[in-house]
Symmetry: C2
């Protein structure tokens, strides 16, 4: 195995994909920091909106690794970590390299930008995957180069762009992903298909979705709640795709507070939302084929059930695959 | 992400799994070498019998990384690498740490043992996953500790033992694995299911199998050759499981030189072989359930076909998952 800049960027990519679908309205971003002897000091990701950016998380971990100063680990707020680093860095970062899947932000909001933090800490080498085209945050590269930093762009650009696509789609129009859980033999029926860890991960994603789309038959048969109780999160609005408008209102999903429910026979409403999860099996898959950006499959390594995905001919690129406890989680793009 | 000894051992594990099924009659082993500043100097694996052990490959790569002396890269023979390292190491390894999934060998054959190479190079810290219980090679740990090296055992022992199991089974009795290729929707029919890269990987595994087991119906329907032509390798012997002994001898597999073919209605012959691959779908799966150690699934991210695995209730532990070009390759154990 070759240990090179691609290797370090791949670590950042894999860490970031763990939080894909959880960072909305922010992008999923990963960051690796490598020390002066090429030692890996940190691999971190942006985990959710409001939490520190990937670079800040990585600089926090790297600072601890280099200094053994535990007090920085108690800081959770991005502004506090910024300030602590600026006051205490003592030039320990001057020979480190920073790898980030997305151009560091130039946005001075509650905290100074990541770009300014990076040059203030004396980091001289930054490797970037995707350029930031968001007008609020772009030009991080220029800030860095204007302050004596060498910036190398487009490292694993294709992979970093695939990681960033959900964010870009949510800015342009919306990001729509189709999520399903299946067994090895392709079945989706007969009780809980995936592990508790996988279902918890789905609930965490529902918590940051603003619309969940589901088929009327699934609602009638499964009587689901479709909330985010496993993470104590907010329940998304629901679009039930159904020609038949009558539903038994004692079905659990109708009795969750703070959500809107629409029963409609088309998908026009999807365009009013920015981060949309579609849950379903083959019928829903075929109907939403043209509006879906990415596919998210929770694959349980088991045989069982009887009702399998019955759709023909589609092929996917696997964008990321990870094993989370028992199951495999795959993000894919139809090709 | 925590960058610690487990991280380094996991790199070795993942590298080794790439060669699982290819190293017979040797074990699959991985090795990571970490420099004095915790920089990763090398992650390598044993790739095939006759080729250098994982430790030797890793020491070769690490030597090059530390010295930039390209001449070592031209050496492929283990004895040559041993000698070159012993003559030229110049004490560059004294502060490195070595992580190996299997206790370094104590076996002095064509080359001195890995254990002796490690202490001769002045490495003082060795982390081991699984102990070597093979009488020919064991006691590497004692050789190391008797020569001033600290050996830390059982690092990710469960994971390293799972990697080693095929080797141990082949020594005790035999290692039997069931291989299949499927699409996302569980189908196994309708032409080539997996990519050329996956099929090439299967041929490389056939090349080191000594017996391939296949069902009579598959032979009649698919008329396969079941050789290792994609890697220019040797074709394994074949056991066709069939009650009906008559076959059209123009079927390609009957016309491959240097192989024995058995047509039998039981699996007793399997015990005469050490490294056995069973290829098949659900019928063969059910019949061989009690003799199979591991399952190897090539998963193509596509929908299609019509004939799906139809077996119920089995669950697996995923031992390793990797993405190789288009497909996913999973090694699993039934639980």
């Amino acid at each position: 195995m070759i240990i090179d800049n691609n290797f370090y960027m791949n670590l950042a990519l894999n860490e970031a994909w763990k939080y894909q679908g959880l960072t909305y309205p922010n992008p999923a971003v990963g960051c690796t920091i490598v020390g002066k002897s090429s030692e890996i000091l940190a691999v971190e990701a942006h985990q959710k909106a409001g939490a520190p950016h990937a670079e800040v998380n990585a600089l926090q971990s790297a600072y601890y690794k280099l200094t053994n100063d535990k007090s920085i680990l108690s800081l959770a707020d991005s502004a506090d970590i910024h300030n602590y680093l600026l006051l205490n860095h003592n030039n320990i970062f001057t020979k480190t390299k920073l790898f980030t899947t997305l151009e560091p932000c130039s946005h001075h909001g509650k905290t100074p930008s990541c770009a300014s933090l990076i040059y203030e800490l004396g980091i001289k080498e930054v490797y970037v995957g995707s350029p930031d085209t968001n007008v609020l945050a772009q030009n991080g590269k220029d800030i860095l180069t204007n302050n004596g930093c060498s910036v190398y762009t487009k490292l694993l650009a294709k992979e970093c762009d695939a990681l960033l696509l959900p964010f870009k789609r949510s800015l342009e129009e919306n990001f729509v992903y189709f999520k399903w859980a299946q067994r090895l033999n392709g079945t989706t029926d007969d009780g809980n298909v995936s592990s508790l860890e996988s279902r918890t991960d789905v609930h965490a994603k529902r918590d940051v979705c603003d619309l969940l789309v589901i088929g009327g038959n699934t609602v009638r048969e499964d009587r689901p709640k479709l909330d985010a109780r496993l993470v104590d999160g907010k329940a998304p609005d629901i679009l039930i795709y159904s020609r038949e408008k009558e539903f038994d209102k004692t079905i659990a999903l109708f009795n969750v507070e703070g959500r809107e429910i629409f029963i409609e026979s088309d998908f026009k409403r999807v365009k009013n939302y920015k981060n949309v999860m579609i849950e379903g099996t083959d019928t829903m898959y075929m109907m939403t084929r043209d509006i879906v950006d990415y596919y998210l499959c929770y694959l349980s390594p088991s045989f069982g059930g009887s009702k399998s995905f019955d759709v023909c001919g589609d092929k996917f690129d696997i964008l990321n695959v990870t094993q989370e406890s028992e199951d495999i989680i795959m993000w894919m793009k139809r090709i």
